[in-house]
């Protein structure tokens, strides 16, 4: 364990150095050197070049095919190119720690399904190793196979299938996006294929980067389309009221007022989103989440009281500081409070109680939860909450759950919702506690651009698994 820790640190310190270094996992996995081993014959064996692979996959993206379909096709291309091997792409969530989606064509669907939501263990598995070292890892010992990690995964894998090489898919800024994994199907095949794997990994990187920016764009478009709909409808109504005989001047005045208000709202949303998605000058400070909560509660108390919401705070006594953007995190908290309040607006048969809790867990993370007693959601609808971008509340300062999730994940945390045993829902997130030797890679910029950010330069370091 100690040796692994030392090597991980070394890799992080050296940044993008291409110098090869010694075995990451002693005697079990061996790293490929510069991604191309001498025995690699695959690139010359097969005529399919990277340009053709890129063109095929690019065509699918232009057709608007979903990411898992595009990645599965990429795996099919690989499998067709190299006989005896099967490939998969593990797409990671924004924390880079959990498998968000696994695509592959030649692997059992049950195995791919079992990987969903699993944590990529940093040190123990080839998947963790490749992300940790930011280089491809060749698995030389079948018994050290990732498929054998945990009984569930082993049971799901077809007999004889074993991991051959895992290659990290990294963003331009070095964030782990996924893993391109190649499995050996037949025991009598040989060849390293590292050059070809490197090419496919490159295409997978381009695909995922492109899809991520599309997702961000879709979130912006959705947030802005809501007030635009109000503007167009109000202005149309206004024109019709004025054209009527006799003209409805009072009605027209009211709809004109709403048009202006919605336009201001659209402009406000754009300002916030621009600040959020602009990657220059990340603001990251040490902050006390309890204090941030108290400020937000104080700010929103009048609104909460107007909705007859009883706020109960259960804040942990000695909460360690977290590293992050205060304004962004407060936006998330505010959003959760206002959502909880809205969810209880029709509740009359029980107290409209809202409980805000903080606590520290044994993994050095700070948890925050907001529990309401509202109408609740069906359990199967939980995940959709975040995809549907549904919470742009008129007049409120809410920024939408999808954006909240984006913020939390850019703080290397997670945001989720669970139905309560009784009525209502609990929204929770965690973010890691501040570490003295690590500057959190907060990619988004502070919403409060006006705030002086002296001494918080945006140099990003990615230190993991220490």
């Amino acid at each position: 364990m100690n040796a692994d820790r030392r090597i991980c640190r070394e890799v992080a310190d050296r940044g993008c150095s291409s110098e090869p270094h010694i075995s990451l996992l002693p005697s079990r996995h061996r790293e490929s050197r510069n991604g191309a081993a001498a025995e690699d014959r695959s690139a010359t064996q097969v005529g399919l070049g990277i340009a053709e692979i890129g063109a095929t996959v690019g065509g699918l993206i232009r057709q608007g095919r979903p990411l898992p379909v595009v990645l599965t096709t990429l795996c099919q291309l690989f499998d067709a190119t190299v006989k005896g091997y099967s490939s998969s792409v593990l797409l990671l969530d924004r924390t880079g720690a959990r498998v968000r989606n696994a695509a592959g064509s030649g692997l059992p669907a049950s195995y791919l399904k079992q990987l969903e939501g699993k944590r990529v263990r940093w040190v123990e598995s080839p998947f963790g190793s490749t992300i940790n070292a930011k280089r491809p890892v060749i698995v030389v010992d079948p018994l050290a196979d990732a498929l054998r990690e945990g009984q569930e995964a082993a049971a799901a894998a077809a007999p004889g299938l074993r991991l051959h090489e895992a290659s990290p898919i990294l963003s331009l800024t070095g964030e782990p996006l996924g893993i391109f994994a190649v499995y050996q199907r037949e025991s009598n095949v040989s060849g390293c294929h590292s050059a070809l794997i490197a090419q496919f990994t490159l295409v997978a990187t381009a695909v995922i980067e492109r899809m991520r920016s599309d997702e961000a764009l879709a979130a912006i478009v959705h947030e802005v389309n809501q007030p635009l709909a109000g503007i167009v409808t109000n202005a149309s109504t206004c024109r019709r009221m004025l054209a009527a005989d006799p003209p409805d001047v009072e009605g027209a005045r009211e709809t004109a007022r709403r048009t202006i208000r919605d336009a201001e709202r659209a402009s406000e949303i754009l300002k916030r989103l621009r600040a959020l998605f602009c990657k220059k000058g990340a603001t990251s400070e040490s902050l006390d989440l309890n204090e941030a909560i108290r400020e937000v509660v104080a700010l929103s108390l009048s609104e909460l009281e107007r909705n007859m919401v009883i706020v109960q705070t259960e804040l942990a006594g000695e909460l360690p500081p977290v590293q992050g953007d205060r304004v962004q995190l407060q936006q998330v908290i505010l959003n959760l409070l206002l959502n909880a309040s809205d969810a209880m607006s029709d509740v009359d048969d029980r107290p409209r109680q809202l409980v805000i809790r903080t606590e520290r867990d044994e993994e050095d993370r700070v948890h925050l939860s907001v529990r309401d007693a509202g109408v609740g959601f069906k359990p199967h609808g939980m995940d959709r909450l975040f995809d549907a971008f549904y919470t742009t509340k008129r007049g409120g300062m809410g920024i939408g759950l999808s954006v909240s999730r984006f913020i939390i994940e850019s703080h290397k945390g997670r945001l989720w919702a669970t139905p309560n045993d009784g009525p209502g829902v609990t929204f929770s997130f965690f973010i890691p506690c501040e570490r003295k030797d690590v500057t959190a890679g907060v990619t988004a910029r502070s919403l409060g651009a006006i705030r002086a950010s002296a001494g918080t330069n945006a140099e990003k370091r990615h230190v993991r698994g220490l």
Binding site: V221, Q226, T233, T237, M241, T255, D262, R384, L385
Partner: protein, 128 residues
């Protein structure tokens, strides 16, 4: 041409500015209007049978627009549906048309596009 009895159009959308603005426009068209903030609220109301056309948001917390469409089908309630959505995804639109929606409009939509959809929903009550 406004008929003697104004047909009821129900708007179901969790976005408050839509619930506020759309009813006024629909009233200008000559319809009577009710607005609901969720599919559940609509189902619990006394308007389900009376509604001649539903203007329905796709992505809502809890029961989504397509969920409500399925529920109405199960109940044998064949109300024409015009979906509205802030996600400009052509596949979403095509899927909703396949499921029998009259139209699927991307927000922001023009008054003429809405009117065309409503005229398609019930030709007996044409507005120009």
């Amino acid at each position: 041409m406004i008929a003697a009895k104004r047909p009821l159009v129900s708007v179901v959308d969790d976005d408050e500015s839509v619930r506020e603005s759309l009813p006024d426009l629909l009233k200008e068209f000559g319809y009577s209007v009710r607005a609901f903030s969720s599919a559940e609220e609509f189902l619990a109301s006394d308007c389900v049978g009376e509604t001649k056309c539903l203007i329905l948001d796709i992505a809502m917390p809890g029961m989504s627009g397509p969920d409500l469409q399925r529920e109405l089908t199960i109940r044998g309630q064949e109300t024409p549906i015009v979906f509205i959505t802030a996600q400009t995804d052509e596949t979403v639109r095509l899927r909703s048309l396949e499921r029998g929606a009259v139209e699927c409009l991307f927000k922001p939509f023009s008054d003429t596009a809405l009117l065309a959809a409503l005229n398609a929903a019930f030709p007996a009550f044409r507005v120009s």
